[in-house]
Symmetry: none
Subunit: 205 residues, 2 copies
C-alpha cells in the first residue's frame, strides 16, 4: 500500500458522494484545504499520509465503512489472494522465515466463488467419493457459475438424486457424467432427466 493509494481512495470516496476532496473534508468537519492535491506531498517530495483520525471522520460523515474504503484503496474486492506457481515457490524471496508470503513477485489472483456470488457447501460423508473427497470434506458449489466439459460438478436428477461427478459430455440428446473415481463407469442421462448441474469450485483439505 502506497500513500497515493490512500489519496486515490479518498478521491474515489468523494466522487461516490458527489463531492470534491475539498468538499469531503468540509463535510467531515475538517479544513477544506486538508486534502488539497498540492498538500499530498511536501516541498521535499516526501509523501504526506492522512491520519487515521481524519479517515475516521470522513467515513463517519459519508456513512461508509473502513472495509469499503480499504476496498477502494486496494482497488479490489473480496475473494483474492497472492498467487505463485510451485516452481517459483522453490526460489528465495517469496516467503519470510515463518512461511508468510513476502516480496513483490506474487500475482494477485481472484478466486471464483469467494467474492459475492452465491455459493453453498456440501459436506461429504462416507467414503464413496474417495479418493477425490474424503469423509468430512466440504465442497463449495456455485450454482450460477458456467460449467464446461471436464468440470467437476454437482448434478441433481429429476428423480432427486444429488451426486458429484465430472461433466464428460453435454449436448441436446445426452448428458454424460463421469465418476470422480475413474474405476467407476460413467452415467448417461437425457437432458430431461437432469434437473440442474452446478460447478464445484473448491474442496476442503
Amino acid at each position: 500500500m502506497q500513500h497515493k493509494d490512500i489519496w486515490r481512495g479518498l478521491d474515489q470516496l468523494a466522487g461516490q458522494h458527489g463531492l470534491s476532496a475539498s468538499g469531503l473534508a468540509k463535510r467531515a468537519g475538517l479544513d477544506p484545504t486538508s486534502f488539497n492535491p498540492s498538500k499530498r506531498e511536501g516541498a521535499n517530495g516526501r509523501p504526506r499520509w492522512p491520519t487515521t483520525e481524519s479517515l475516521a471522520r470522513v467515513l463517519e460523515a459519508v456513512g461508509a465503512g473502513f472495509y469499503d474504503f480499504a476496498a477502494l484503496v486496494e482497488g479490489r474486492r473480496g475473494g483474492s489472494a497472492p498467487l505463485i506457481g510451485f516452481g517459483q515457490a522453490q526460489q528465495d524471496g517469496f516467503f519470510d522465515d515463518a512461511g508468510f508470503p513476502v516480496g513483490a513477485g506474487w500475482d494477485d489472483a481472484r478466486f471464483p466463488g469467494l467474492g459475492t456470488e452465491t455459493v453453498y457447501a456440501l459436506q461429504v460423508s462416507g467414503d464413496s467419493m474417495e479418493p477425490a473427497y474424503r469423509a468430512g470434506d466440504r465442497i463449495i458449489v456455485a450454482p450460477g457459475a458456467e460449467v464446461k466439459l471436464g468440470d467437476r460438478v454437482v448434478a441433481k436428477t429429476a428423480q432427486g438424486e444429488v451426486m458429484a461427478k465430472v461433466l464428460a459430455r453435454k449436448n441436446t440428446r445426452i448428458i454424460e457424467l463421469a465418476s470422480l473415481n475413474p474405476d467407476y463407469p460413467s452415467r448417461e442421462f437425457k437432458p430431461s432427466e437432469i434437473a440442474w448441474i452446478a460447478r464445484i469450485l473448491w474442496a476442503s483439505q
Copy 2:
C-alpha cells in the same frame, strides 16, 4: 470506526503472525514502544490514532493487505456459506429449480482461510501431485493456521524445497511427511531440516 477498533485490529494482526504489538512494531521498523497499550491514549484521555504511514509499514512487514486489516478492524467475517450434508441434499426443499440453495434447513458454515486471515495460493504444474492435485489446480495455504497430524500441508525444507504433503508425525526428533499419493513413500526429516510447515485449506476443482 473508533480508534480502539484500529488498535484492536493491530493487536489481532500481530497475533495472527505470532507477535506482540511490540514485536509487530519492531518488525515494521518502528520503535518497539510505538504500540504500547499505555500509549493508546494521552494523559488527558485523548485517543491516539496510529498514522496511516505506520499502518502501511506494518502491513508491508507482515505481507497483509489493507483490505484484510480493515476487515479485522470492523470485525467483519467473510468466508461463510450455507452448508448441508450430501444426504440431506437428496431431500426436497433444499434447492430451487435452478439449483440455488433455498429453505431454512441450511446451516451457516464458516470457512477457514476465506475470511480475513492471511492466505496465499500456489498453482500446481505438472502431474506429480495427482491424483490429489492436477496441473493448473490452485491450493490455498494458510501460513498462520494450526497444523495437526493428518493435515495436508505445504512444507519448505531448509534446503529450499517446497512440497505438498500430509503431516504424518511430528515430535522433537522427527517430522514425517507422507506423500499425497499413498503409492509413494513417506519422507522423514529432522526438525532442523524443515523451515516451515503451512496447512493447505482448499484445492480448486
